[in-house]
Symmetry: C2
Subunit: 564 residues, 2 copies
């Protein structure tokens, strides 16, 4: 490829709208352009990187015996209704009607549709099956952002496993866990396998692959000692055992004029970790009390996962006043008529403080299990940096991270809903046990840039670089230099190296800047000075290291660098 | 790949819903399944064929210097409004609103969107540019049919050329004409390059690549002598010169009780080729008289192309009565107040017959140019089999055909509408001259099957076959046979042959049937009888030719067949 013909419109300035390094650099280096919010055009350099990522993903899918298919991107409503997700999923599912008025969805995932195909499996002898596709997904994000990090249209490799039982699913899941680990290694992404919430996907367990990055929208809890890692939506930590006295025989009200917060109550001799914090949430329309220790924040996804509620929101002050007769600041669950869900950290706690459901009055001496009608216990609190690892006791870290992959043990949710059954070894009809496994291709590209750039531009890992080498003609108006550069270019091309020659009639500085900005791993500079000695310069993008190499050794030198 | 693990669910019976050989065979041989009307799931065998087709298309795109991009499948309405196609294109454009109520289209082509990207081109020095993508297209077909032949969702390779002037466009167009010719040759498709209507695409010229097939939805006119070929929407033919007498000085009415048709009027001494047929069409809301020779049918697309009307339809009888005061059967344009468009074949005709716009009355002695206020002349008639070639006079053929590619000279329609301008060599801002070039990938797959099958199944050309070879273990319960077959399979795999081994515990007949049905070009059968002589059988799918080949020569023999 010749740079003079290539459409890679680099920008001299940082684009104003870019809110993440990958966004800024992919725009500036001429990889992508936004068509409209959340929809990006991939220009030639980006298409090359995308193809390399897909190639790596395909190779690892093939290695676990997965077969590639291609299922429609547009789906009839019917299978989504059968699984319940037509209603469960909100506006992020793009919906439309065709000319006859029939309802359709644009797939944001394909469990239902692969299950539809899997109905043709008839016997356990056909299992396991591993199927995947590389297909466009659509998702009506409320806030597309970060360039390719969060878009409304993207390519996903999604795989689905079909097993006759849970043991089969466990084996399939392990195989994908391994495949994903290898994929992210090959992509150069330092992804952590994290316990995760399954959200609306359902099923028993899921693992997210999380790439630590400042611009990540997720929080991951990690133990630097034992390797424990979990999304903050799922993470837990060890707490020191409580040292509660027995307290009085019944809660005792006391006046707390003007007290509105956990902090206000400290002045009354109530440390935050001896307070019961009472939140009011509306779960699928039903007001519910959510109790946590005074110093523990709620993680809303945990509340969703614990209750299975499709819609949750904090109650409005008027709703709270109606339900409890008091305003936030004096709320409490003692004697309240609403359902109560309490965080595990409150189990067994005694002699606690909480609101009395009378404005400006609190209770002391509350024994949570004795005085409160807790309907359900659950892990609801959000882990904080520095808490102790549940496995090894080490101090936990909390990191921002980008989700680059997510794999799910689905169980029989979709196969029961859609009638995917096989005869087992005993001739009984059983629902097939499914798993699903997804990687967002363009998000992976962006995550690589987030983790591989410097102040001069992108620094691609060789495995995904759009070109391995750029040959720069330092003085393109010098016929001798141009001829020598062309010879190097031809030699590298003939050796199977993916090479571009920057033959533009530009100053060397412009070419160097674009080579660095676009992140091509190796640069071969052919210029007058070196040519006088029969040599070219070979520069490594990542380190800036430059070596003078005899012209007739350039190909061998580059091949050695590529071999690594 | 092992057949025992592969998901290729072949059917014993022809599926009832299939209306074309490719539909029937792709279903039966386990290549595709319908999700809903017009949306197909491609199963593993089809994905392999699709990948090979795309690979061939990409290679030829690269050969003309085209750069691959990937533009969104979902588009904001704005560029479609700017080109006018938001309104011009009817319900076949899928439209939807996002969560904020903004309107979007699902791309059925990408002229507007590539033009949006091309705005960044600034100078003639950056031209020509050739850009392409392999992207999903959506089209809300009124009648999806024929399996992959006409779907609502399909993969298209669409390319776009950007030149500074018409001469540049001509050169780009020629390059794609050549590339497409090579692509269809490599795909084994006997495609004819035909003059075609550009429809709502606009622009000056277009060429369709038409693959003759019984199930084709298009009609192509071809001259077997000189190679003239055109879509019937565009084709013309030579007519013998008319031998009209001068006729009377003015048209003469005469009674024609009960005459309603061209044929009815024959009895009054009016041969069909001396009648003027008067049709009433409503063009963008305006009733218009359309005149043709009595024996010439109208081609509606020609009427659209001649008038530029966005919407046309035949007028209702009540509208005709209102406009002309008579019913069909006695209509005529003499003295009529409506606009008149006449077919070229009527130019200069005299002493003709036509309706008088009075029920049961006709006129004789009509001189078309003297007596009728023709507002526009155009080629409107549909060519019939056996008419004379305009180029060489030979008898024309009319063939059914499948459109497998369509290339357009667009000119400046989209660049003017969307503001794609560059500075030319004189420093003036000029609109970029565009072309566009499309191939439907899955339709090409179906067209290959339409032209490559027999009563036993598909007969893939080697270049696009999902596997080149299937190794059949004739007696899979015979350990010696199984081991020998595995050895052949391993040998072929090691030699880089794309091979599947049919290791299923099935009878040989079942395996042979599936090998033939799925259309794999070469079959190597390892069975007891041959093994006794140290040989396998190699069978050519296309011819059924079978040779006995020594086991240790099978790899070389197969490689020779593949090279051949």
């Amino acid at each position: 490829m010749r740079w003079s013909q290539m459409f890679a419109p680099t920008l001299r300035e940082d684009p104003a709208e870019a809110d993440a390094p990958s966004h800024r650099l992919l725009l500036r280096a001429g990889y992508v352009r936004q068509l409209t919010a959340g929809h990006y055009s991939l220009l030639p350099l980006a298409v090359r990187v995308r193809a390399k990522i897909i190639q790596i993903v395909r190779a690892e899918m093939d290695a676990v015996g997965a077969q590639e298919m291609l299922l429609p991107a547009m789906h009839p409503a019917e299978p989504w209704r059968r699984s319940g997700r037509w209603d469960l999923i909100g506006p992020e599912l793009f919906r439309l009607r065709d000319r006859r008025g029939a309802e359709h969805a644009l797939g944001l995932t394909h469990e239902e549709i692969f299950a539809t195909v899997a109905r043709e499996l008839d016997s356990y002898r056909r299992l396991p099956q591993q199927w995947y596709q590389v297909q466009t997904k659509f998702r009506d994000e409320p806030r597309p952002k970060g360039g390719l990090l969060r878009t409304r249209e993207f390519t996903m490799k999604d795989a689905y496993s079909f097993d006759v039982d849970g043991a089969g699913l466990d084996a399939s899941f392990e195989a994908y866990l391994g495949a994903y680990t290898r994929i992210f290694e090959r992509l150069g992404l330092p992804a952590l396998a994290c316990e995760a919430s399954s959200g609306t996907m359902g099923g028993s367990d899921s693992t997210e692959f999380m790439c630590p990055a400042e611009t990540g929208e997720d929080l991951v809890v990690r133990c630097p000692a034992c390797g424990y890692a979990a999304n903050i939506e799922r993470a837990t930590s060890a707490l020191p055992a409580a040292q509660d006295g027995p307290g009085p025989a019944a809660p005792e009200p006391f006046d707390t004029p003007g007290v509105r917060t956990i902090e206000d109550l400290l002045a009354y001799g109530a440390p935050a970790d001896r307070q019961v914090k009472t939140l009011v949430y509306v779960l699928d329309g039903a007001p519910t009390l959510v109790l946590l220790r005074g110093d523990h924040p709620l993680n809303e996804q945990k509340l969703v996962d614990a209750t299975g509620a499709a819609g949750i929101r904090a109650a409005e002050p008027a709703e709270i006043q109606d339900a409890l007769g008091a305003l936030p600041g004096s709320l409490g669950a003692v004697g309240a008529a609403l359902p109560v869900i309490a965080d595990e950290a409150l189990r067994g706690r005694r002699d606690m403080f909480t609101g009395a459901n009378v404005d400006d009055v609190h209770l002391r001496g509350v024994d949570v299990e004795r005085d409160i009608g807790v309907g359900a216990w659950a892990d609801l609190r959000e882990v904080a940096e520095g808490e102790a690892c549940v496995r090894c006791g080490e101090r936990l870290e909390v990191l921002r991270a980008i989700e680059v992959g997510h794999i799910f043990k689905l169980g029989d949710r979709y196969s029961r809903a859609l009638g995917v059954e096989v005869l087992d070894a005993d001739g009984r009809s059983v629902p097939v046990i499914m798993g699903s496994y997804g990687i967002g291709i363009e998000r992976a590209m962006a995550a690589i840039v987030e983790t591989h750039h410097d102040e001069r531009g992108i620094v691609w890992p060789v495995a995904v670089a759009p070109f391995q080498v750029t040959v720069v003609t330092a003085q393109s108006d010098d016929a001798g230099v141009a001829a020598a550069a062309e010879e190097v270019y031809a030699g590298l091309s003939a050796a199977g190296v993916e090479v571009v020659i920057d033959d533009r009639p530009e100053r060397a500085g412009v070419k160097f800047r674009d080579a660095e900005l676009t992140g091509i791993p190796f640069r071969v500079t052919v210029g007058r000075r070196g040519l006088a000695e029969g040599a070219a310069e070979v520069t490594v993008r990542a380190t800036g290291d430059t070596s003078k190499i005899a012209l007739d050794s350039v190909v061998d030198h580059v091949r050695a660098l590529l071999a690594g």
